[in-house]
């Protein structure tokens, strides 16, 4: 059997990319505008908040603890050489609150929920359930997408706070048990290191990441074509795209906040 390779011109690829960006932007804008239009599906939003927030709690607890402990372990081995073990609290605190807490939580929830949204909505597309919803006079962006955006942004904010806290506890465990750092010394340095800018940075990011995860997951779900194979493809693409977008946006948000508040 001869294998046929179809060559696609770069122009076509660029056109398709531009179209995808346009569709994603329109879907996101429409879903955001739905927050100000009736009906607002609060019941669906609460259900999604439970699925996304409570459902992601175990994975966030585990990763938060692990990352905090690893951060303390790696930094302590370096700091020990210069007799600076007392600085572990500062490093863990800054690292977790401004960067690793939001980022790791975002990536974990992206892996778990962007895929879930893409596969759920994708399955609804291929089984004509979305068409059925439209035919029944209900706007799927209002009923399905807006509640997911609200729930993800809201819950990621709190999940990040939990991850930050657990990261600090993980760091304390390592610092205290392995390096003999005093409890009060650790927590004082954790507390005193943080300034408004750090907390602001660490809490604005999860809201943005939540928006990215839900809109990318819903976009890939709603644009699913090609049956069950298409659902699988959408799911993979949703995780990859949301993860990459989180990393890119993280960089620019950090840079922007540095530009606004100045470097430490």
């Amino acid at each position: 059997m001869a294998l046929e390779l179809e060559l696609i011109s770069p122009f076509e690829v660029a056109k398709e990319f531009a179209l995808a960006v346009q569709e994603y932007t329109l879907l996101s804008a429409q879903s955001l505008a739905n927050f100000f239009r009736r009906p607002l599906y609060m019941g669906d939003m609460l259900q999604q908040a439970d699925l996304i927030g409570v459902g992601s709690l175990p994975i966030v607890i585990l990763t938060g603890l692990s990352v905090g402990a690893l951060l303390a372990l790696n930094s302590a081995s370096t700091l020990q050489r210069f007799g600076g073990v007392t600085l572990i609290g500062q490093l863990v605190s800054l690292g977790m609150v401004t960067e690793l807490g939001p980022l790791i939580t975002g990536l974990m929830v992206a892996g778990r929920n962007a895929s879930g949204m893409a596969s759920e909505l994708g399955s609804m597309i291929v089984t004509e359930q979305i068409d059925a919803m439209r035919a029944l006079g209900t706007d799927p962006t209002k009923k399905l997408i807006t509640p997911r955006i609200g729930a993800t942004a809201f819950m990621l904010f709190f999940l990040t706070i939990i991850a930050d806290l657990l990261g600090l506890i993980g760091g304390y465990g390592v610092a205290h048990l392995l390096f003999g750092l005093d409890t009060q010394q650790y927590w004082t340095s954790v507390w005193q290191t943080l300034v408004f800018r750090d907390v602001f940075t660490g809490l604005i990011k999860p809201v943005l990441f939540g928006f990215i995860i839900s809109t990318v997951g819903c976009y890939y779900g709603m644009s699913t074509r090609g049956g069950t194979q298409g659902v699988g493809r959408s799911t993979t693409q949703a995780v990859v795209a949301s993860s990459v977008l989180i990393l890119v946006v993280d960089f620019f948000v950090t840079k922007l906040i540095f530009a606004i508040f100045g470097y430490r």
Binding site: D131, A132, R134, A135, L136, G137, T138, D139
Partner: protein, 281 residues
Amino acid sequence: MPAPTLPSANTAAAVVSPSDYAIEFENVSIAFDDNVVLDSISFRLAHGETKAVFGVAGSGKSTLLKLAIGLLRPDSGRIFVLGEEVTRMSEQELFELRRRVGIVFQESALFDSLKVYENVAFRLMEEKLSPEEIERRVREVLRFVELERTYDMRPSELSGGMRRRVAIARAIITEPEVLLYDSPTGGLDPVTSNTIVELIMKQRDVAKTSALMVTHRLQDAFTMATHEFDQATNQMVALPKGQRGEVAMSFLILKDAKVIFDGDAHELAASRDEYIREYIS
């Protein structure tokens, strides 16, 4: 005999307004990439009439239904449903119109995460009716399709025929003025198919709902043309020979993206068109 020609859209518009029909297609065309699915087709569905739509697989039958309810937009032409020009309406305006139209999808398209009563009650819940009123109407309509016992079940627990009947219940719960059926008996055994045909007939003869019924099964449409629903016995009865074809039932056949026949059972039986003769034989 060649297929009956359709009156010109312009002439028709001058005589009767589109609101005199439940559905009217005027020179509607749609293509997906290079594949022309419907090419300038025109037809009308009168109020209270059921029109069976035939054609080989891929002839655009399901597309036609999706165009009628505004789920797809035509490349050209105009579509009127209950006097409203669907082709000029925004999605938001369409949501309002769709509350007056029911559709039964080919694979039922029940929401698999919801129970049967939630599926059937979907529109009523959206309209924020009281829970008592919703339960009363859901039970009533499930009784109509003889599936009241499935009230608390999930779609995955139902057979194909039961799913199709639940989809019909969901479509008729708001007593729509127009119903669109997409292969309602496709892939079902003859007994279940007969039950579905009886339900569609009941809807036609009791509720007097206008309907477009896409089907591959000619025998279903002929049953509908030769029987009527008897409310006293709650079953369909054959019409006497002289009255056969006298019910509000017509046929539309699509071929090569065009309408090649649009008429009643008598005209279909009398057709001399080779393709139609072969199709109905």
